[in-house]
Structure formats: C-alpha cells, structure tokens
C-alpha cells in the first residue's frame, strides 16, 4: 500500500526542484510570498509560546514545524472558499486572513478570537477531534447546490482519522461529490500516541480507497508540494469532481500544547535532527540561495515587518477592553430566553450590590 501512495515532493530537502513540471510556476514572486508567510507564521508561533510562558495568554497549541502545510494549503484557497481548522491551524487561519490580534484573543480565552474578518469564511477551530469534517462536507454541498465555484478545506490530524466523524465526513462528501479537500496534517503523533498505535495502515492517504476518492501523500514540509497539490485538489472540487484526501506528512518540533511534555513519550533529538534536515523554511532558503534569490536585507526587512506586526497585535490584545461578562449571556440565542435573561439580570444585580 505504501508503494501505491508514494510521498510527493516538489522541492527536496536540499532545496532542489524535483518535479520539473512545476518549475515554471515557481516564480521568484511566489517563492518570496511563501517565504514571507512561512517566517511570519513561525515568528507568531514562537511569540505565542513565550506569551504563554509569561502568563499573558492561556494554554497554547504550537505548530512549529508544520508551517509548510498550513501556509501552502491556505495560499491555495480563493477568497470565497471556506476553512474549517483545528486548534493547531492558526497558521493557516492567519495566512488566509485572520488577524494576529484575533489569534491572540482566542488563546486569551476570548470569543472575539472566533470572529473572522468580514467576508472571510473561517469557521472557529474545532476542539473536539474530527467533528469538523462533517461540517465541511455539508458546507461544501451547500456551495454545490448554490451553484458557486467555491470550495472548502478542512484540516485534521493523524489522530483524528480514528474518530467516527472522520469516516462519516468523508463518506458523506464522497456520496454527494462535495467540493471539499480533506487536508490531513500527519505529524505522526496524537499527543503521545504515535501513528503506529493509532492505525494499522502505514499511510493515511490509502483511507481514500474506502470512499473511492483520490488519496494523495505529500511531503508536508515542502511548501510547493502542499501548494500545488492543494490547488489541484481544489480545482477538482470546483470542477464538480468531488472531494480529495491529502495526507501531508510532517512533524511538530515542540510540545502538543504548552501543558504537554513531549520528552515523556518521544526522543526530542528527533525534532532537533529534523530542524536541520527537513525543516520547511530551511529548504525554501536553500532553494532561494540556489536560485540566487536570497537577499539578506529583504529577509531582515520582512522579519522587521513581522516583528512590528506582532508587537502591535500583542499591544492591541493587551489593551483590549476587558472581557465583558454579559457576552456570555447575550450570544446564546438570537433572542435570550427568559431563563438566560433572568439569570443575567440576577447576576448583574448581585454583582453591582457586591461592588457597592
């Protein structure tokens, strides 16, 4: 089976293009744009980890190492497409248009972090594993029935493939030829559980055979493979050819969340090694160097810009108006039920009394 689903690479670890077919499309402009997004997402992620350590945001879910998956796939989307992310996909969300401030607010436990920018169909991250897959199938059917050319992307991890909702989502989408790309980030661990314990198969891509849809295994640390293969899958979707399952093989360098200690269940030497060899950013650097596109000054400038963006977002998050407790009551229904209205009123009254 593994042989039937070879890992597709466009850019190899050394930074060489190994699929000449894509050579022409890989312009300097595209490469620089990708690179910019890659380092932006990485810098944001690192900042978040340090904000969490300082107690300025809550538990945080880092994605360092998975930037190519998230950036490459998000850049493949059209503006009108839908994104159904998990808790680890704020790299993709930011690349698709969610602001840094919103990202930070989410991790600060604020519902403001769930509101996408105007016109952007970014659904809030799904915390219960795999439950977003049926939503994506349904949203995609809706686009199809409306007769648009919009498509849907939905993210999920290797662990998520064990849940019933994974299966039900893919089956539903396949039966109705829904325009949706099931984008799996196979970082090879579900918290502490390695893929070998999660499933007997050696690939996730082969699970597509159970739904008679294309399944594809790609190097998830190769931003070009991710970008082109996701674009092609989205094209298929837009053309009425139905869903695709993409397995992007990757690795998270760090902990599952800031509450997790990966050394309990795996050798962190592996992460160190991978940073040197398969890192998604390094290989684009190597490629740019090969091409003679590498420009230290530009890189410094980009880093400076991103730093400024981050600092501004952090500042914005920190001077954001205090969480308004009323929000908890006001958004449950379009019109609050008497139960909620009474509970709110009683609580506010009591609180006012306490403050006096």
């Amino acid at each position: 089976m593994e042989l039937d689903f070879p890992m597709v690479q466009v850019l190899n670890e050394e930074g060489a293009i190994v699929q000449p077919a894509y050579r022409e499309q890989i312009t300097k402009e595209l490469t620089m744009s990708m690179y910019r997004h890659l380092i932006r997402t990485r810098m944001v992620d690192r900042k978040c980890v340090s904000l969490q350590r300082q107690g300025r945001i809550g538990t945080y879910v880092p994605y360092e190492g998975q930037e190519a998956c998230q950036v490459g796939s998000a850049l493949a989307l059209n503006d009108g497409d839908w994104m159904f992310p998990t808790y680890r996909d704020h790299g993709a969300m930011m690349t698709f248009g969610r602001s840094l401030t919103q990202t930070l607010l989410y991790w600060k436990g604020r519902t403001e972090g769930c509101v996408p920018p105007e016109g952007k169909k970014i659904v809030p991250p799904s915390v219960p594993i795999a439950t977003q897959l049926p939503h994506a199938a349904g949203a995609a059917c809706a686009e199809k029935w409306k007769g648009t050319k919009n498509a849907v992307i939905v993210y999920f991890g290797d662990g998520a493939t064990s849940e019933g909702d994974f299966h039900e989502g893919l089956n539903f989408a396949s039966v109705f030829h829904a325009p949706v790309v099931f984008f799996n980030q196979n970082n090879q661990y579900a918290i502490s559980v390695p893929m070998t314990r999660q499933m007997k198969t050696k690939t996730i891509a082969q699970k597509a055979l159970a739904y008679d849809i294309p399944g594809l295994r790609i190097d998830g640390n190769d931003v070009f493979a991710v970008y082109f293969k996701t674009t092609e899958a989205l094209e298929r979707a837009r053309n009425g050819e139905g869903p695709t399952l993409i397995e992007a093989v990757t690795w998270r360098y760090g902990a599952h969340t800031t509450s997790d200690d990966p050394s309990r269940y795996r050798d962190q030497e592996e992460s160190k090694k991978r940073r040197e060899t398969t890192d998604p950013i390094k290989r684009v650097e190597r490629f740019m160097q090969r091409e003679g596109w590498w420009d230290e000054e530009w890189v410094n400038q980009v880093q400076g810009e991103v730093n400024a963006e981050i600092e501004q977002a952090v500042a914005e998050m920190e001077r954001y108006p205090k969480a308004n407790m009323s929000d908890m009551f006001d958004f449950v229904f379009a019109q609050p039920t008497w139960t909620i209205a009474e509970q709110k009123e009683a609580y506010l009254q009591w609180k006012r009394g306490m403050e006096r």
Partner: protein, 331 residues
C-alpha cells in the same frame, strides 16, 4: 380531508408533512435530510410526496449516519441553508449527540453571533406503539440541559404544524419531538398555508380551579383523560400542555399553580433527571408559598424503556394520573 375552506382535518404526522411542504414552498433555503425520507417518504410517511414535489436536492436521502448528516446539516446551516433533519427514532439520536451538543448549540455563542445554526432536528419519540426495543425513548431532558438549543414537543396537529414552521423560521437550533404514539391517534382542523405557534408558550387545554396537571407530547391525552375522570369525582383540573420544553412557559405554570396550589406533572421519561424536575424548579422559584401539597410526579421509572411486553406498565396511564390528582387533593 378538507373540512372547510382553507382548513384540513389532519393527523399529527400529516400536519408535520404539511408544515414541511409549506416551508419547502415558502423558502428556498429549506432542505430536508435524513434516512429514508426521500423515496420512501420516511418510515412514518412524514415526508411523503416531498421528494417527488421538490426534488433530490431539497429532500435528501442520506447515508445511515446520524453524526454525519447532522454534522453536514450544521455545515449547510452555516452556509445559508435551513436544514431540517429527521432522526428516524429519538433512540437513535445519540450518535449525533456530540454534533448537537458541541456544535449546533454552541456556534452562535462561540462566535458572538457571527456564525449561526438555524437547524431543526425532528425526531419521533416515545413508547406505546409496540415498537422493537430502543425505539421508544423519551429523553427530552438530555436536550433541555444543553444550552443553545430549544426543545419543542407538540401534542396536537394544529400545534405540530404551527410549531414546526416556527422552528424552521427560528434563527437557532430547535429539537422538534414528535409523539409517535399520537401520530395517527386523532385529527384536528389545521389551516392551510403558513402560520406559526410561538415557541416558548404553553397552552391550557382545560380549565379548573382545584389542581394543575402539567404534561407534554403523548402525555397530554393521558392527562386530559385523567382530568375528565377527575371531573366525574368533582375535581376540576387545569391541564397545561407545555408545548415547548425549553424554555418552559414559566408564567403559565406559575399562574395556574398559584391558583390551584396543587400540582401533578405527567412525564413519560424516567423520573430522575426528568423535565418534571425543571417544572418543579419553576414552581419552587415562583410559587412556593402557594403550594398546598407537595408536587406529585407521575413518570416513567428509573429503568431503561422496557421491551414492549412491559411497556404498558412503564407508561403513565390516566388511572395513575388520577391517583396522583386524588393524592394532592387529599393531602
């Protein structure tokens, strides 16, 4: 059967069908999904004729997967549709519990109203029709404890149509419970075309000053029968049909209990954790000192809904309700 101009005499299941047809005509965004609802017209015929009339893209036979099609319907609701899904029997809703609990009910709150899920989940519920096991659950209380979803349960054809249309027009998710046992039990005049019955409002089905009897769904006829029997003994009962189970009609309950001071609640579900206890809480909070006797609850027992050979002993009967009425009267 048309009885007069603009009115038809319908059973509950026909009223449901009529409501669905009306709304499929009225709104392009309404879409039905479920198992066997298309070609087969639903195992109870609630969707009969709708596939033929509205086509495969609006009346959708789905794969056999409650979490899958409920989840997909959530995605459709996010994307501008108003899906009405049918769960074949309430006892088969549990695979979709996660989708309803975490997503349908919470999406608006999580996104400050940016994303909403105007979804209706229809499910026949309850015992009393000699169905195979697991087909007879009446677990409304598992949903009234789920913030973000309303729960509606009509007892009559008129209300079934009006409430279902109201549920479809509601901007938030609604669980719509249909009393299987009453599906074809009687007819009532139902207006043609669109009308709504307000969600959140109960209805007094009978007036009396001595005792308040509160029921919903398939227990309403049981309560009514008991009230008739009580009248023969000179006891006059207010019978309240709750109609909406979340949010309860607090004012209607309080007004009646404050008048009578005596309450009997009739509930098909298991005693512990049942909706009757929510009614009890409303009485405690609004009408405590009006009470002349402890509230009597006539309920199913704390046992799994039994196989049908035992269901007559599980279900509240008019005789049991009458006994409770006499008990609160003689307290």
């Amino acid at each position: 059967m048309i009885t007069k101009a603009g009115v038809k005499s319908l059973t509950i299941v026909q009223a449901v069908n009529d409501a669905l047809r009306t709304m499929l005509k009225e709104r392009e965004d309404v879409i039905l999904l479920g198992e066997d609802i298309g070609k087969n017209g639903g195992v109870f015929r609630a969707t009969e004729g709708l596939l033929e009339e509205f086509g495969e893209e609006r009346v959708v036979d789905t794969p056999l997967s409650e979490a899958g099609f409920t989840g997909a319907a959530i995605g459709m609701a996010l994307n501008g549709f108003r899906p009405v899904v049918e769960i074949q029997f309430l006892g088969f809703i549990y695979p979709a519990y996660e989708q309803i609990m975490t997503h349908a009910a919470r999406m608006r709150a999580r996104t400050r109203g940016h994303f909403t899920v105007p979804l209706v989940i229809r499910a026949p519920y309850g015992a009393g029709v000699r169905a195979p096991e697991i087909h007879s659950d009446s677990t409304e209380a598992l949903f009234t404890h789920m913030p973000g979803i309303k729960v509606v349960c009509p007892a009559s054809p008129y209300d079934a149509k009006g409430l279902l249309i109201a549920a479809i027009e509601d901007p938030d998710p609604v669980l719509f419970l249909e009393p299987m046992r009453s599906y074809r039990a009687f007819r009532e005049d139902v207006p043609e075309g669109k009308y709504t019955v307000e969600i959140g409002k109960g209805k007094k089905r009978r007036e009396g000053d001595d005792v308040t009897v509160i029921a919903w769904g398939a227990m309403v006829p049981v309560a009514m029968k008991a009230a008739e029997e009580a009248e023969k003994k000179g006891i006059y009962a207010d019978v309240i049909d709750l109609r909406t189970l979340y949010p309860l009609d607090k004012d209607l309950i309080a007004e009646s209990v404050q008048k009578t001071g005596r309450t009997v609640i009739v509930q098909e579900a298991h005693a512990t954790g049942g909706l009757a206890n929510d009614v009890l809480a409303v009485i405690n909070d609004t009408s405590f000192f009006y009470q002349k006797a402890p509230v009597e609850r006539v309920t199913g027992f704390d046992v799994p809904v039994p196989f049908f050979a035992y269901e007559d002993d599980y279900l509240p009967t008019p005789a049991r309700v009458l006994h409770a009425i006499e008990k609160v009267m003689n307290f």
